[in-house]
C-alpha cells in the first residue's frame, strides 16, 4: 500500500519527474522482492530510500541500473519510457551508480580508472589527455578535487569514493545512485561526502541515496521513500517526518531507539592485552595494542572498517596467535610463544560472536540445531563419543530459540533460511548460553533489522549487568556510543586512546578514527 503523501518539491511539480518507476515487480523464485513499486524523483533533489535489509532496496536499484530486468513495470526518465537491456543503456540514459563496494582497479591511477571502459579512441595516451581536460572542468564545477595521477590503492576510502562519483559524472550521469555510501567512512568523511552531494544538487544533479541510517536521511535528503517487505510503504517530504516515524514505517511497529543504558559496576580486571602486535606478510596489522577489560563493563572498539579490529578479535578468540605481545585471560598468559587455540580460549570462559556470521558464526547449509552447537559440539549433553544425538541437538536449539525469540522457532530449518537478525540471535544465544566470563562481539547488528537490533542491545546490556565483560567491535559508531562504558579507538592497527563514555562524542571519536589524537586524550592513554 502506497500512502497518499506524495512528496512535492520546489516549484518543479509542473515538470515531469526526472525519474519515475511505475509498478515494478520482481520475483526470485518464491520471493517477491519488489511488489508494485512506484517511485517519483524530482530533478535536482536528494531522494532517500530507506528500508531494512531484505526490504527490496537493492533489487530496486539493480533494476534501475539494469543488473536485473523487472518482471513487469516501467521506467521513465524525464518522461521518456526506457527499455534497459544492460547497464550500458542505463549509463547512456544518464544514470550513474556508486556501489557500496567500489568498482575500482586498485593499482591503476585515478585517471586510468575513470577512463577504463570509456576510452575515446584506441590510443590510450590521447584518451587520457582528453579525459584529463574534461575531468578538470568537472572537478572544478562540482568541487570534487582529486589528484588524477594518484594510484587508487594509496588513496583513503573517502577519496576513492570521490573517484567513483567523478567516474559516474564523467559518463554523463544526471541521476546518481549511492548505495550505502557511508558504511566505510569516518564521520568527518561522511560530512565531506554530504557537502559534495549538496554541491551536486545545486548543479542540478539528482541523487538517489540508499541507506539504512535514518540520521543521514534527515541530514541530507529532500524527500524519502520507505520500503518494507518489497513494497513502498510511504513517500514523505523529509521536513515533514522524523526518525521515529521512519523507523516505525520501516519495521511496521513502534520501536525503541533508546537502549536504556545504565552505568556499569565493573569489578576485577579479567583480560589484559600487553603490547599485542600482528604482522602479516610484511604489513603491520596490529601495532602494540595494550588495554585491559574489567568484569561487568562493555569496552567498545571503534574504528573505520579494516583498521585492525577484525585481527584483534581473531587474536583474542585464539583463531590466530599474535606476532608479539602477551594476553592475560583470567590469569592465564597467552603469547606468541605459548599460543592458545579457540578451544583453549573457550575453556577460559571466553565466548565469541564473530563478525562474519555467514562464514564463521554459522554453517549456512546446516540445520539451525546443528549450527546452534558449533564450537560446543564436545558438550557431553549432546550424546556419547560415538553418538551425536539429534534429539539432544533439537531440544537444545528449541530452548535457545525460545529464550532468544528466534523466528521461525524451527530447529530443523536450514541456517541460511533465517533472516540476518534471527541468525544473529541464534549465534548470540549459543554464545551467551555458555555463560561466558568474557564475550567478544563483532558487528553484532550488521545486516540485522531494527527490531532485532533492539533485542540484541538489551541482551548485551543485561549480560554486562550480570558481571560479564564484553568487548564490542562495531563500525556503527552510534552502536558503540550507545552501549559502551569505555571506548577504544583504533586506527591503522594502533590504539588511538581509550576514553570514558562521558567524553566519547561523535566529534572526538571521529577525529581519533581518522588518526588525529588530541593532547587531552594522549595524556590519558
Amino acid at each position: 500500500m502506497v500512502s497518499d503523501t506524495q512528496h512535492k518539491t520546489g516549484g518543479n511539480s509542473a515538470l515531469p519527474p526526472v525519474l519515475r518507476l511505475s509498478s515494478i515487480n520482481k520475483r526470485f523464485g518464491a520471493v517477491h522482492a519488489n511488489k508494485d513499486v512506484s517511485l517519483e524523483v524530482s530533478a535536482g533533489t536528494v531522494h532517500g530510500i530507506v528500508g531494512e535489509n531484505g526490504a527490496g532496496k537493492s533489487t530496486l536499484v539493480s533494476i534501475l541500473y539494469a543488473f536485473y530486468t523487472a518482471d513487469s513495470g516501467q521506467i521513465y526518465i524525464s518522461g521518456q519510457q526506457q527499455q534497459f537491456k544492460s547497464s550500458a543503456d542505463a549509463i547512456r540514459a544518464g544514470i550513474g551508480m556508486v556501489h557500496q563496494h567500489f568498482m575500482l582497479v586498485p593499482n591503476f591511477t585515478v585517471l586510468e580508472n575513470i577512463v577504463l571502459g570509456h576510452e575515446s579512441s584506441g590510443n590510450l595516451a590521447s584518451s587520457k589527455i582528453k579525459a584529463a581536460g574534461e575531468l578538470a572542468t568537472l572537478a572544478k564545477k562540482y568541487g570534487l578535487e582529486v589528484d588524477l595521477d594518484a594510484v587508487v590503492q594509496d588513496l583513503p576510502v573517502g577519496l576513492q569514493q570521490r573517484v567513483e562519483i567523478l567516474k559516474a559524472l564523467y559518463r554523463g550521469a544526471q541521476i546518481l545512485i549511492l548505495d550505502e555510501p557511508t558504511g566505510v567512512l569516518t564521520p568527518q568523511e561522511t560530512e565531506q561526502l554530504f557537502e559534495i552531494l549538496k554541491a551536486l544538487r545545486a548543479q542540478g544533479v539528482t541523487i538517489l541515496l540508499i541507506t539504512h541510517k535514518l540520521k543521514e536521511i534527515m541530514a541530507i535528503t529532500d524527500a524519502v521513500s520507505v520500503m518494507r517487505g518489497g513494497e513502498m510503504v510511504a513517500h514523505l517530504a523529509t521536513q515533514d517526518t522524523s526518525p521515529r516515524q521512519l523507523a516505525e514505517l520501516m519495521v511496521g511497529r513502534p520501536v525503541l531507539l533508546d537502549v536504556g543504558y545504565s552505568p556499569p559496576t565493573p569489578t576485577d580486571i579479567c583480560l589484559k592485552a600487553d603490547n599485542i602486535s600482528l604482522t602479516q606478510s610484511g604489513t603491520t596489522k596490529l601495532d602494540g595494542l595494550s588495554f585491559s577489560l574489567r568484569s561487568g563493563e562493555i569496552l567498545g572498539i571503534a574504528g573505520v572498517s579494516g583498521n585492525g579490529q577484525s585481527e584483534l578479535l581473531e587474536i583474542l578468540s585464539g583463531i590466530r596467535p599474535p606476532s608479539s605481545g602477551t594476553l592475560s585471560i583470567n590469569g592465564h598468559e597467552i603469547g606468541a610463544d605459548n599460543p592458545a587455540g579457540p578451544s583453549e580460549i573457550k575453556a577460559l570462559g571466553v565466548a565469541h560472536v564473530p563478525e562474519d556470521r555467514h562464514a564463521m558464526g554459522l554453517v549456512l547449509p546446516f540445520s539451525a540445531a546443528e549450527s546452534a552447537v558449533l564450537g560446543y559440539e564436545d558438550d557431553a549433553r549432546l550424546g556419547s563419543a560415538a553418538y551425536f544425538a539429534p534429539e539432544a541437538l533439537h531440544s537444545h536449539c528449541a530452548q535457545l530459540m525460545a529464550e532468544f525469540d528466534v523466528r521461525p522457532a524451527s530447529p530443523e530449518l536450514k541456517s541460511n533460511l533465517f533472516s540476518g537478525g534471527n541468525q544473529q540471535k541464534l549465534v548470540l544465544a549459543r554464545e551467551i548460553s555458555s555463560a561466558p566470563k568474557i564475550l567478544l562481539v563483532g558487528q553484532p547488528t550488521r545486516g540485522v533489522d531494527i527490531g532485532a537490533i533492539e533485542f540484541i542491545h538489551k541482551q548485551l546490556l543485561s549480560l554486562r549487568d550480570k558481571g560479564c565483560a564484553i568487548i564490542l567491535v562495531s563500525v556503527e559508531l552510534d552502536e558503540i556510543l550507545s552501549l559502551s562504558d569505555r571506548v577504544m579507538v583504533m586506527n591503522a592497527g594502533q590504539n588511538m586512546g581509550i576514553i570514558d563514555r562521558a567524553d566519547a562524542t561523535i566529534q572526538t571519536v571521529g577525529l581519533m578514527m581518522a588518526g588525529v589524537v588530541d593532547s587531552d586524550v594522549e595524556a590519558r592513554r
Partner: protein, 370 residues
C-alpha cells in the same frame, strides 16, 4: 517460509529419476536411429539385469563395487574434497589384501587371513588417500591433481610388483599365485547351497552384505557422530571449523583416510570374493564410475545404494544387450552408460530450475486455496 527450496524427497528421488529418464530417452532415440526397437532393447536390458539366469547375482556383484567406490567419493565430498583417486586407492587395497594373504596364508587359519586382509585393504587404501590429503592440507597441492597422479603411481606400482617380485613363478601373466584354499569371501550361491537352496551361479559374494553394513556405518559416521559433524562443517566452511576450534588440515586428512579406506575395500569383492589372487587392472574403472554414483546418489548412502544398483544393472544388462543384438555393440552399451553418467553426473542439476518452478506453482496454488 517463502524460500525457493525443494523438499528433500524431490532432490533425492524425483530429480535423479528425471535425469535417468532423460538419459534413457536420448539412448532410446539413438537405438531407434540404428534401426532397433528401443523398447525391446530396454526389456532385454532389464531381463538381463534382473530376470535371466544369474543376472541378478551379477548385477548385485557389480553393485557391490559401486557402493564402495561411491561411498568413498561421498565421504571426501562432505569435506568438500573431490577424490578422483578411488581407482588407485582400490588398487592399493587389493595390494594390501594380496600382501597379507601371500605372507601369512601358509601359517594362519583362513578366517584370520581374511580378517587381516580386510584390514590391510582399508589400511593401504586409506594410506593412498591420506597422502594426497596431507599434500592438500599442509602443502596446498590440489587434491584433484594429486589423486589423479596417485592413480598413475598405484597403477605403475601394481605392474612393477605383479610383473616382478609378486608374480607367480613359472607363469607368464602378471598376477600372484592363488591364495590358500579357503582364503576368500564365500560366494552367495555356495552359501545358499549349504542351506539347501538352489540359486544360479554368480560371482556375488559376502562382500555385498559387508557393503550394506559399511553403508550404514558411513551414514552413522556422517550424520550421527561428532567427527561427521566436524567433517561436514569443515566442508561447508573452513572458517567455521577454525572458529569452532578444529584444525581443517587434520580434518581433511582424516576424511581422505576414510575415503581411501572405503575405496580400498572394493578389493574385497574382486580379490577375496572372486579372483582369490591379485591380478592386474581388477579395478577396471569402478573407481571412476564411483564419482558418478556419488553424484547421482547426492552423496547420501541411501542414494548411493540406488545409484549403485542402477549402474550394476546397467553393466550387467548392457552385457546382455551386446549379446542379444547384432547391431548393438559393446561400444554402444558404453555410450548408454556414458549418457547416464552425463545426465546424472555432469548435468545433475539441469532440471532443477524447471522442477523448482513447477513445484512452486503447485504449492502456491495449494496455499492460495488454503
Amino acid at each position: 517460509m517463502n524460500n525457493a527450496i525443494l523438499p528433500r524427497w524431490i532432490d533425492i528421488f524425483l530429480l535423479p529419476i528425471i535425469n535417468l529418464l532423460a538419459a534413457l530417452c536420448v539412448a532410446g532415440i539413438i537405438i531407434a536411429l540404428i534401426g532397433e526397437n528401443p523398447f525391446t532393447a530396454l526389456v532385454v536390458m532389464l531381463k538381463g539385469a534382473f530376470v535371466y539366469h544369474g543376472g541378478l547375482g551379477y548385477t548385485l556383484y557389480y553393485t557391490t563395487n559401486f557402493i564402495f567406490t561411491g561411498l568413498a567419493v561421498a565421504v571426501a565430498f562432505h569435506a568438500m574434497l573431490f577424490n578422483i583417486g578411488g581407482e588407485g586407492q582400490a588398487m592399493m587395497g587389493g595390494l594390501g589384501v594380496g600382501l597379507v594373504a601371500l605372507a601369512i596364508d601358509p601359517f594362519l587359519p583362513p578366517v584370520l587371513v581374511v580378517l587381516l586382509g580386510i584390514c590391510a585393504a582399508a589400511a593401504l587404501g586409506g594410506l593412498w588417500g591420506v597422502i594426497p590429503g596431507w599434500l592438500q592440507a599442509r602443502r596446498g597441492s590440489h587434491i584433484v591433481i594429486t589423486t589423479i597422479m596417485f592413480n598413475f603411481i598405484a597403477s605403475s606400482v601394481m605392474v612393477w610388483l605383479l610383473a616382478g617380485m609378486l608374480m607367480n613363478p613359472g607363469q607368464m601373466s602378471p598376477e600372484t599365485r592363488s591364495f590358500a584354499e579357503g582364503v576368500g569371501l564365500a560366494q552367495i550361491h555356495v552359501i545358499a547351497g549349504w542351506l539347501g537352496i538352489e540359486i544360479s551361479r554368480s560371482p556375488l559374494n559376502l562382500s555385498f552384505p559387508i557393503a550394506l553394513i559399511v553403508s550404514v556405518g558411513v551414514w552413522w559416521l556422517i550424520w550421527r557422530t561428532r567427527l561427521g559433524y566436524i567433517i561436514r562443517a569443515t566442508g561447508h566452511s573452513e572458517k567455521a571449523a577454525i572458529y569452532a576450534g578444529h584444525d581443517p588440515a587434520r580434518i581433511i586428512m582424516i576424511a581422505m583416510a576414510i575415503s581411501g579406506a572405503l575405496a580400498g575395500l572394493m578389493a574385497l569383492n574382486e580379490i577375496l570374493g572372486v579372483q582369490g589372487r591379485v591380478i592386474l587392472n581388477f579395478t577396471s574403472g569402478y573407481g571412476f564410475t564411483g564419482i558418478a554414483v556419488a553424484l547421482m546418489g547426492r552423496n547420501h548412502p541411501v542414494g548411493i545404494l540406488f545409484a549403485s544398483l542402477l549402474f550394476g544393472a546397467l553393466y550387467q544388462g548392457g552385457a546382455e544387450l551386446d549379446f542379444e543384438f547384432q547391431s548393438i555393440t559393446r561400444e554402444m552399451v558404453l555410450m548408454i552408460q556414458g549418457l547416464i553418467i552425463l545426465f546424472s553426473g555432469a548435468l545433475a542439476y539441469m532440471f532443477n530450475p524447471a522442477v523448482e518452478r513447477i513445484y512452486l506453482r503447485l504449492t502456491k496454488q495449494g496455499q492460495a486455496d488454503g
